[in-house]
């Protein structure tokens, strides 16, 4: 069975029983987390954005229609919106998730193990010189170029996939990528 067919079935089942959302979560969490890390480079914030992304996906799953975009594209889009929100505010709080948790007085459990896991992940990110170099470079660009360049070259997505995520035509995506690279050249070769 094709991947999008499997997703379609899982989503349909998740609409009536959240337990099936766990399957979707398991399948896509690492992918979406990696994208957010590529954009932000901070594991704490990335973890929070990933949690909010999946919470929003869970709440809005009944509005998702497979004809408009593959499920992964839909998740990338939610994550992108949250990332943009973070860049605008320069800080991040998973607002919807937090307020729902407060509503029923529930907290995401924490422990030394969990904290250590995050510390180790942050160390890996910080010690990845190639990533740090690319991030420094990307941060010189406006966000709209960062977004397409990360999706194209770090997430290895095709133009058509990026156009579905961003809701822009393929031509616009190509031109954003090309202009992004040009801008980078100009900035770095000054």
């Amino acid at each position: 069975m094709r991947n999008d067919e499997i997703d379609k079935q899982l989503v349909e089942r998740a609409k009536s029983d959240p337990i099936y959302f766990a399957e979707i979560f398991d399948k896509y969490y690492n992918l979406i987390l990696r994208y957010i890390i590529h954009r932000i480079g901070d594991i704490e914030v990335s973890k929070d954005i990933a949690a909010e992304t999946f919470y929003k996906a869970l709440n809005k799953i009944s509005t998702y229609h497979p004809t408009t975009a593959p499920f992964s594209a839909w998740l990338y889009r939610i994550a992108s919106n949250e990332i943009n929100y973070f860049f605008r505010r320069k800080k991040y709080e998973p607002v919807s998730l937090d307020s729902s948790l407060k509503e029923i007085n529930l907290q995401i459990p924490s422990s030394i193990d969990i904290e250590n896991e995050l510390i180790a992940a942050q160390e890996m990110i910080d010690n990845n010189k190639k990533y740090q170099m690319a991030k420094e470079m990307l941060y010189k660009l406006p966000e709209k170029y960062q977004e397409v360049l990360v999706l194209r070259f770090m997430e290895d997505l095709k133009i058509v996939e990026i156009s579905r995520i961003l809701g822009k035509s393929e031509g616009t995506v190509k031109s954003l990528i090309s202009r992004g690279i040009d801008k980078l050249k100009k900035i770095l070769n000054k």
């Binding site: 959240p18 529930l106 690319a134 470079m137």
Partner: protein, 282 residues
């Protein structure tokens, strides 16, 4: 001076691979599902317009019930020992005690020194998992050859106590599986046993003559890990050969669960292999 190709190379080389925060991920997943079930409960309560005070009580009770019943981990194998989290033991079995010639590894009780051992790596390339390999023989004929693996529910659910556990509050069981079944078939079985221990075979008495609720899960077994979700009430049925007086309501079975079985048959003597991990009730 950077050219376009160099810039693209810098970006492609900067990919971050292998960053996983599995403990955090599981935490978030569990919280999201609790929230989802809580909201679902709330929604259904609103439909019936229950008076406020009852609504509050049931919501709180429902929420606390959900915290405890959303998941129940039978075993994630992470400690690598042959016992699940509740003291229930993993073990293998085959048709040998009936004169068959099937062979199973890890060695079944009474036929070798090793007994049951876990294998690694488990799901997600970490920890441990149940790995069973072997081949079914020909002596007992088609459909009568078998080998399998069981996990007892807890430390009281086998001889001498043979105590069942009520798991009616759960919808089903789920687990990860991978392997190669060759030509054979793999069934998930939910046995129904009494509190009588058959001391000569050190097993609890079957109340169905082994015509237990089951589901053929052969199609799920592939080279890569797959998740199997079995809804107890929708997916399981007793085999067609069940005797009339052994037909039992699934709710009765769920009221007194002793063990879960994964049973393989009709493998034509070829070597099969299955891996099982993260067994949970949901």
């Amino acid at each position: 001076m950077y050219d376009e190709n160099e810039l693209i190379k810098i970006l492609t080389d900067a990919k971050i691979e292998n960053i996983k925060i599995d403990k955090n991920r599981e935490n978030i997943k569990s919280v999201l599902l609790k929230l989802a079930y809580y909201k679902k409960e709330e929604k259904s309560k609103n439909i019936f317009k229950i008076p406020l005070i009852y609504k509050y009580i049931t919501a709180v009770a429902g929420f606390f019930a959900l915290i405890f019943i959303t998941f129940f981990v039978i075993d994630n194998m992470d400690d690598g020992d042959r016992f699940n989290r509740n003291g229930g033991i993993w073990s293998t079995y085959s048709d040998r005690h009936q004169g068959g010639d099937s062979v199973v590894w890890p060695t079944e009780y009474g036929y070798g020194r090793d007994g049951f051992i876990m294998s690694s790596p488990g799901y997600g390339n970490k920890g441990w998992a149940v790995r069973v390999t072997g081949r079914t023989g020909y002596k007992l004929g088609y459909n009568y050859n078998y080998l399998g693996v069981v996990v007892r529910f807890n430390s009281k659910s086998y001889c001498p106590e043979c105590k069942g556990t009520n798991i009616r509050k759960y919808n089903g069981i789920r687990f990860k599986i991978k392997g190669n079944l060759q030509q054979g078939q793999l069934f998930f079985i939910l046995p129904y046993e009494s509190e009588n221990c058959i001391s000569e075979r050190l097993t609890c008495e079957s109340l169905t003559d082994y015509a237990d609720y089951e589901k053929d899960i052969s199609n799920y077994v592939k080279e890569d890990w797959q998740t199997v979700m079995i809804d107890f009430r929708k997916d399981l049925s007793q085999p067609f050969w069940v005797k009339k007086d052994k037909i039992v309501d699934i709710e009765k079975v769920l009221e007194s669960v002793h063990l879960f079985k994964w049973q393989y048959k009709n493998g034509n003597g070829e070597i099969m292999e299955i891996w099982i991990d993260d067994v949970e009730l949901y």
